[in-house]
């Protein structure tokens, strides 16, 4: 099989970070080539360079021996490179057919509705990806939307397919269908590059794997002849410790009791009768694929979303009808999923952000007046304790790095001495140092007898920190398992809706 795509010593920097450092990659015809790496390893940047969304600072990219010099995706598309992005590039208000032909519409002026619809139907049949060309993309499931994305690529006669984290939002059945499609394409000689941070998937689907770490390509191996441990080591660069050493702890009385909560949103029920408890000195991890109700559940607990039915108790008190502010007062702290959107006011100074929850109370305010000196002292103290850099309390939150912004939020929430801390994706997008810092803080809280509800899409994080793990699927709590004695496989199966008891 000959090489069709060759990336040689490509480097790409952004202000403050070298995203790709002398990266090498070669892809052969008719192979499925995986790019494996942790979040932030540089995988997305690499394919965006191939696709023309970015220009390399140095190095070369060749397609069938022709040097590529794209300044926009349009040229990449014309050269036959097709990309399906992790976050779909679809227009929900338009139909499937309209989305597919957009940018390469047949005809000159008039939009040929009937012809386009028919053409899309034929295309879908050709690739065994049935779909209704007249459906509005916004009404489709995620799996079907992905089909539209793939069909888009083939409408433009792609000769090379790039898939960026394609299984992130799919159900296991949809993943199976995707794999079939990929294998069919491979047998037609079309090379596929797919990016993932999921070891098991990559092992299952690919022919060769290129591992990336911290912006560099570490190694390229034949899938058949590598072990998961070798891959994990290459990804992380050290012996992977599967469990963070947690001192054993006897949990105390229940702090949070959730009974039969049902949460609706729009027309569906996102949470269908969930019950669990979290006790003092315990980290309860909630695992699940994105979109299965975990975030709606914590919004219900914090009071941001109403419950259709069910009860929530904090230290024995029924808080189901409390407002957000009252629950905060009662002792719930919350680190939200989207720190920039929900956790901070980016154009406020750090001082103002540190007191975001309690700005109206003494000592920060008396009689409606803000107490400047008290607030400044508080901000300085917290910045020291949580190592926020730069140590400028009057800097705008906007000017801090993601890790430091998260530290501000953490500092604020933790220092309020809450009974229950809810942390949603607390280490998303952070570098290793920041991640370790935050994990240590969470363990400190645990040792101090606080209750922690950890919701994360990173299974490793859940497994290493949690005393007990709840797995959520389609709005239901599938099982609650003890942290130290469960395997990834068990959790993975539960996450996809398989009831362990049935497995025998």
């Amino acid at each position: 099989m000959r090489t069709c795509l060759e990336v040689r010593n490509v480097t790409k920097s952004f202000p403050g970070v070298i995203a790709n450092n002398q990266v090498n990659l070669d892809v052969r015809e008719g192979e499925i080539h995986a790019i494996l790496g942790e979040n932030g390893a540089g995988k997305s940047t690499l394919v965006k360079l191939i696709y023309g969304l970015y220009k390399p600072d140095s190095g070369s990219i060749r397609l069938y021996d022709q040097e590529l010099n794209f300044s926009s995706p349009r040229q990449a598309i014309q050269a036959g490179i097709g990309m399906v992005h992790q976050h779909f590039m679809l227009i929900p208000a338009l139909t499937v057919a309209e989305n597919i032909v957009l940018g390469a519409e047949p005809g000159r002026i008039h939009y040929r509705r009937k012809e386009n619809v028919e053409m899309v139907r034929q295309l879908a049949k050709q690739y065994h990806m049935e779909i209704d060309p007249n459906a509005k993309v916004g009404d489709l499931t995620v799996g079907l939307q992905q089909r539209v994305e793939i069909l888009k690529v083939f409408y433009r006669k792609a000769k090379l397919l790039i898939l960026d984290e394609p299984t992130a939002m799919l159900t296991p059945q949809e993943v199976g269908e995707l794999i079939l499609v990929m294998e069919r394409l491979r047998s037609q000689g079309i090379p596929i590059i797919f990016i993932s941070h999921k070891l098991d998937e990559v092992k299952r689907i690919s022919d060769r794997i290129t591992v990336m770490r911290a912006g560099k390509t570490v190694d390229t191996v034949e899938t058949k002849s590598t072990t998961p441990q070798e891959l994990a080591n290459a990804m992380v660069g050290r012996e992977v410790v599967l469990h963070v050493s947690k001192p054993p702890q006897l949990p105390g009385e229940p702090v949070l009791e959730v009974e039969d909560i049902v949460v609706s949103s729009d027309r569906n029920e996102k949470v269908k009768g969930v019950s669990f408890q979290i006790r003092r000195g315990e980290i309860f991890g909630l695992a699940g694929i994105d979109g299965n109700g975990q975030f709606e559940l914590i919004e219900a607990i914090t009071g941001l979303r109403p419950c259709k039915s069910g009860r929530i108790r904090l230290l024995g008190n029924d808080i189901s009808s409390y407002s957000v502010a009252r629950r905060t007062k009662a002792g719930i702290a919350y680190i939200p999923q989207d720190r920039q959107l929900d956790g901070l006011v980016m154009d406020f100074e750090l001082t103002e952000n540190f007191v975001l929850r309690d700005f109206f109370k003494p000592p920060f305010a008396r009689g409606g007046q803000m107490q400047k000196k008290t607030i400044e002292d508080y901000a300085t103290r917290l910045s020291e304790a949580f190592d926020v850099r730069p140590r400028q309390i009057h800097a705008l939150a906007r000017n801090l790095s993601g890790g430091n912004q998260q530290k501000v939020i953490l500092a604020r929430e933790v220092s309020r001495n809450p009974e229950l801390l809810i942390a949603a994706q607390p280490t998303r997008g952070l570098d290793v140092g920041a991640i370790q810092f935050i994990h240590n803080k969470l363990l400190e809280l645990r040792a101090a007898g606080k209750a922690i509800l950890l919701v994360s899409l990173e299974l490793d994080e859940i497994m290493s920190l949690s005393d007990r793990i709840g797995v959520i699927h389609a709005g239901r709590l599938m099982a609650i398992l003890p942290g130290g004695q469960v395997t990834r496989e068990q959790i993975g199966l539960l996450m996809t809706g398989v009831d362990l008891k049935e497995e025998g």
Binding site: G16, A19, G37, S44, T45, H87, D342, V345, G368
Partner: protein, 353 residues
Amino acid sequence: MQKTIEGLVTPFVAIVIALLIGAVVMLVTGNNPVTAYGALFSGAFGSTVNMSNTLANAIPLILSGLGVAIGFKAGLFNIGAEGQYWIGSMAAVWIGYSVQGLPPILHISLCIIVGMLAAGLWAGIIPGLAKAFVGAHEVITTMMMSYIAIFLSHYMLENGPMMQAGFTPQSPVILPSATLGKIVERTQLSWGLAIALVACVVVYWLLYKTTLGYRLRAVGLNARAASYAGINVPFHLVLALFISGMLAGLAGAVQMLGVQHRLYDSFSSGYGFTAIVVALLANNNPFGVILASIFFASLSTGGQSMQLVSGVPAHLTDVISGIIIFLVATKDIVQMVQKRWRKRQPLAPVKEA
């Protein structure tokens, strides 16, 4: 301190550029910019009388500018300041001529309070509630209320309840007990200036030293995070429009009590839109509003003189105002780009896998 100086550069540069463009326009239309600007300047500042009138003109701009600025701080674009000004004027004049037997200090206070409340409600109830509960854009609602207010004032004065018997559509004169005295005799400069300056201090204190101001600013900068922090966003949106309207109403009240002493049937004061430019130029800073207002007031008083002396139509000052908005809007971008480049942040978050 450095921030303040940095903050002053942009408006200063914008003004200079706008004046230069104005000069070019004058040259193109066959006028002499030097005589024109000279007349403008002396008309605005050339004598005690001129200076006083300029300051007098600045008073309604300061107050309505403050109103627009506080709206912006809460993330709201109140372009209905004109209408709120009229409502405030109407209410103040009505109390001014119809309530008798009060000592001046009470009478004036009453006029002002009623004027402010009426204008505040004008902005807060319909535009405010509509924005808070239905998401109706305040640009359109406040503008529509503005036109309704203007027609309302016409109605009041032309054969309506506030009309004074006679042929000219105007209201009765307010009683002496409701009149604000003059600081400089035979000019338009009244003690309303003191009210305007006090208002600036109050607004500054409100925005930056109180919890209410914190809430308003939080809502304006990030309504979601504010909501998560337990701040009642809809309530504060209504409140912000209410306060904004109150200030514009205060502008009207002060103008009536200090300068006009009765309501005339004119179409527009022009303060409403200029207030927007004032707020933008001042970057919504209460003290910057004072400086910006004096600048635009000088354009206005000087403009008359410029038209008389050099023949350049006074409307040139409107052209200059428009150019300033363009410049201020784009300067923001340039500044933002500069700041980001200095802090080495990418322009948009990079979505990493």
